[in-house]
């Protein structure tokens, strides 16, 4: 064992750093471990904002926030978790501000808030269009202040299980090479999403679902894995994110006829309907021939140059660099792209999983506050509130329990498994498998889903997993060998794809991001107002179900 800590946080984005700070402040010896430097985390790419009922731009209260979130989730979110989030949100945002977060301001000097999709009030606190960037940096400042150690560029690969509980992590040290085992009384997974399962995704290369797959491999179930959110405004061809903040500021979505087509799909909320609704509307327009080269148009021109400079500067930069379009003069071509995994490691409201000593927070977790569709601005809020709660609970548990054991046999097994991969001299390079996985997931498990295509995708993934058994790593060295780690990431992604497909097939209804217009076009509360739960057994995923927690809000028809 290289080192041991009370609490080890895997992943150092907003959820991971917030968890580490909470654990530290309670008095635990906590360390972060991350395959990239903390400020490189993908939380930093969040643009539009963070939702809290501060009431700075209108009369607002946590209950309204909770209702919007429940309705947005298409009644699949757990209402106890949602109430916790919305109650805690204002104080958690004030704390970020007091730590130094550079929010945009109202006329009277308060944190500015803008309207966002499916929110009844202008509730999204923001820092121009770089809110995630600002939060990642303020959290890293607080990590530096507390001198919380970080194992940077350590690729976490396996969880250590001994005596029926999680006792650490086995990681590949990217800079120096070699497997390192780090012991811990509690481990918090905060590794983010798995958007790299798709070819058009807003997600970073790092978003390969590591934490979800590691949990799955030690028998911890994943929840609602079929629920992948498609963001309505991403840039062709690779899926770079254009913030919902554009529509919050008043931008229009137009089809090839120059019409605001949402009149047909969400006549009241228009461009500020929920993301699943708008992505389906866009895809329908494109499929029915009213798109522009596979896109629709996001028109900001009427907002004027000043407002674009002031509040959407980053958006303008991204449009100009990646699409060659200056939104002051031209509309931006956009289309739906894979963005956020509502599903993830099944946890309770303290981030605890079914395995003692193992926690999860942020996108890699499924508490679940987002249910079948997440509202824009709720992801950053979840990372902060549930990161804090998981950090606190994990620290308290760790301080009350004293032993850590990483059995040598566990280290030896991992070493042998790794050698098996590294020693393989002939075989297929991973990229073709990776690209085929992403392309076919996009085609067969995208905005709209068909039984036959989902089944076909299951066969495709099975074939890819077979090919993965013969995958070959070029780099056999020890220094910055990310050829190795990228191959390991592909192994994670393949298993997660399988989980998503079996969950998607099991859910025979249309709810939130899971749209089956051809066979099950309606929501079916009687049979499916419950979470899918997928666990790994005999090298394949098995689906089970778990109930949705309802506190105040009975399901009702969802229109915008």
């Amino acid at each position: 064992m290289e080192a041991k800590h009370d609490v080890l946080v895997v992943g150092a984005g907003c959820a991971g750093m917030r968890a580490a700070i909470a654990a530290h402040d309670i008095g635990a010896d906590v360390a972060l471990i991350s395959k990239i430097h903390p400020v490189r985390s993908h939380s930093g790419a969040a643009e539009g904002g963070i939702n809290a009922a501060l009431g700075n731009a209108s009369e607002d209260d946590p209950e309204k926030h909770a209702f919007d979130t429940v309705k947005g989730s298409d009644f699949l979110g757990d209402q106890d978790a949602i109430e916790i989030l919305c109650e805690a949100a204002p104080e958690d945002v004030y704390e970020l501000e007091r730590w130094g977060a550079i929010f945009s301001r109202t006329e009277d000097g308060r944190i500015a808030q803008r309207p966002f999709g499916a929110a009844g009030e202008p509730r999204t606190a923001y820092a121009a269009d770089i809110t995630g960037h600002v939060l990642v940096h303020v959290l890293y400042e607080q990590v530096m202040k507390r001198e919380i150690p970080a194992y940077e560029e350590f690729f976490a690969w396996q969880l250590v299980i001994d005596d029926g509980r999680c006792q650490g992590v086995i990681a590949w040290d990217l800079l120096n090479g070699g497997l390192k085992s780090l012991g811990a009384k509690t481990v918090i997974l905060a590794t983010g999403g798995a958007g790299r399962l798709y070819s058009g995704t807003t997600n970073a290369y790092a978003c390969t679902g590591d934490g979800m797959a590691m949990a799955l491999r030690v028998g911890v179930p994943l929840k609602d894995m079929e629920m992948m959110q498609f963001h309505p405004t991403t840039l062709a061809p690779t899926g770079v994110l254009i913030t919902e903040g554009c529509r919050g500021e008043g931008a229009y979505l137009l089809n090839s006829e120059g019409k605001r087509f949402l009149e047909r799909y969400a006549p009241n909320a228009m461009e500020l309907a929920s993301r699943d609704v708008i992505s389906r509307a866009e895809q329908t327009e494109i499929d029915e021939g009213r798109g522009v080269d596979g896109n629709v148009l996001l028109d900001l021109r009427h907002l004027g140059a000043d407002r674009i400079h002031e509040r959407l500067h980053g958006t303008r930069e991204l449009s100009m660099v990646f699409a060659g379009v200056d939104p002051i003069n031209e509309p931006i071509p956009v289309r739906p792209g894979a963005h956020y995994h509502m599903g993830g490691v099944d946890t309770d409201v303290w981030g605890k999983t079914s395995l003692e000593g193992l926690y999860a927070a942020g996108e890699c977790a499924c508490v679940s506050v987002h249910g079948a569709n997440r509202l824009g601005g709720n992801a950053l809020m979840e990372t902060i509130t549930f990161g804090r709660r998981a950090g606190a609970h994990a620290a308290e548990w760790a301080l009350a329990n004293t032993t850590v054991e990483v059995p040598p046999s566990v280290e030896a097994d991992a070493e042998r498994e790794l050698r098996h991969l590294l020693d393989r001299a002939d075989g297929e390079r991973p990229w073709a498998i990776r690209d085929e996985l992403a392309r076919t997931m996009h085609e067969n498990f995208g905005v709209f889903r068909r039984e036959q295509l989902m089944r076909g995708q299951g066969d495709i993934v099975a074939g890819l997993r077979e090919r993965y058994q013969r995958v070959v790593v070029d780099d056999k060295g020890n220094v910055f060998n990310n050829d190795l780690t990228q191959a390991l990431e592909l192994g994670f992604l393949l298993e997660l794809a399988d989980c998503m497909i079996v969950s998607g097939l099991a859910r025979k209804e249309s709810r939130g991001a899971h749209a089956r217009p051809y066979d099950f076009p309606e929501r079916d509360d009687e049979n499916y107002m419950r979470h899918t739960l997928v666990a790994w057994a005999d090298d394949r995923p098995r689906v089970d179900w778990t109930p949705v927690t309802v506190t105040k809000w009975q399901p009702q028809e969802r229109t915008y």
């Binding site: 990239i36 430097h37 490189r40 530096m144 070819s199 390079r429 392309r439 996009h442 790593v473």
Partner: protein, 373 residues
């Protein structure tokens, strides 16, 4: 070598191009460096990072470089193209290919190379940590809700808040090349992010620290950091603001501060620089006497004008009027240099379809829009 590509999938074949780049490979085990040529087929939309990916996937998996967001926000993929630091995800290859140019890619400068295009950023981060980069609230009672601060009060640090810590500025820093201990543009920009924050109460303490050896006055003002910053942070401007704030707060013990102050006095009184008085005013009498022989040598060869009678510029009134104007506008300290929100607008399209930052809309000393009538 011709390699097909299906990076984005989709049914229609996308237009591709043949890209050639040279990469300085570095083998950390043997210490050997070698410049290698790679020729691959890439989609026309590819940026440098996409080309590196194709090479790593299909030609040589041992090629090492960092990447993550591929949208100019994570700061992972700083490297040099033709000798200047860039973000690999921001550089479109099409215009380069169209020119028939074969760019040379190498690791960033001023940081030890770990392997190929990966540098050791530990020295970078230890300088960031040296700035005590966290808010030290200047208020006694923490506010019940948020601290009240107007947008105008927050604007002065907006550009510094854009910093993604990619290291491009540090890579190109000339001062750091001669003094590896120089705090450098990224750390000092981070420093101004706090000094300029109305909520921070430690500005005097910070300025004193940043004024010490290897601090703000060691910057040679080459402006390479501004030139190479991919996010428009303009670290040199941040260093200038720290200098101006230091002088305003009376923290002027450093030779650099004295030097700058003498420039101001000299230009105000005579309209140009009185070089013979610069050394005694900056370094003190003792040091000046020690350098008398050197100064006489310079004078003999006509390199410095005679101090007497004082040489006054013809249009000295213009220089004096400029000083009066700045005084009247009360633009002392950082306020004289702040570009604020307008600075964010400094991005323009190039003829080649990409985007680049354009020259400053407001140059130091010019009337800022907000402060007008």
């Amino acid at each position: 070598m011709s390699i097909g590509t299906e990076i984005t999938g989709g049914s229609a074949p996308e237009p591709t191009m043949e890209v050639a780049i040279k990469i300085w490979r570095y083998d950390s085990q043997t210490g050997e460096r070698a410049l290698k040529l790679y020729e691959v087929e890439a989609p026309e939309w590819a940026c440098l990072l996409d080309v590196l990916d194709i090479i790593k996937d299909r030609v040589d998996g041992t090629l090492a470089y960092r990447k993550s967001c591929r949208m100019m926000i994570c700061g992972s993929c700083g490297m040099r193209m033709d000798g200047g630091a860039v973000l690999a995800c921001k550089e479109r290859m099409k215009p380069i290919v169209d020119r028939g140019h074969v760019p040379v890619i190498s690791a960033m400068g001023n940081m030890p190379i770990v392997k190929d295009l990966v540098v050791d950023m530990d020295p970078f981060w230890s300088k960031i940590r040296a700035m005590k980069p966290w808010l030290q609230p200047g208020y006694q009672e923490p506010p019940e809700r948020e601290y009240l601060a107007s947008q105008e009060q927050m604007n002065p640090i907006h550009k510094e808040a854009l910093c993604i810590m990619c290291g491009c500025c540090v890579s190109e820093c000339n001062s750091m090349e001669s003094d590896p201990d120089f705090l450098g543009p990224a750390a000092l920009a981070k420093g101004f992010r706090f000094v300029g924050d109305p909520r921070d109460g430690a500005d005097i303490e910070r300025l004193n620290e940043y004024n010490s050896e290897h601090g703000i006055w060691d910057c040679t003002r080459c402006y390479f950091c501004n030139e190479r910053c991919p996010k428009g942070v303009d670290p040199r401007d941040a260093i200038a603001k720290l200098g101006a704030e230091s002088v305003r707060q009376g923290i002027d013990h450093d030779l650099g501060a004295k030097h700058a102050k003498w420039f101001v006095t000299s230009t105000k009184t005579t309209g140009w620089l009185r070089e013979t008085e610069l050394v005694p005013k900056t370094q003190g009498i003792v040091s000046a006497i020690k350098q008398t022989k050197f100064a006489l040598g310079l004078a003999r060869r006509g390199k410095v004008p005679l101090p007497f009678p004082p040489h006054v510029a013809e249009e000295v009134r213009e220089a004096r009027a400029l000083h009066d104007l700045l005084k009247e506008q009360n633009r002392r300290g950082a306020a004289g240099i702040v570009q604020g929100e307008r600075g964010l607008a400094r991005i323009e399209r190039t003829d080649e379809g990409g985007a680049k930052r354009d020259i400053a809309e407001i140059t130091p000393g010019e009337e800022p829009a907000a402060a007008g009538s």
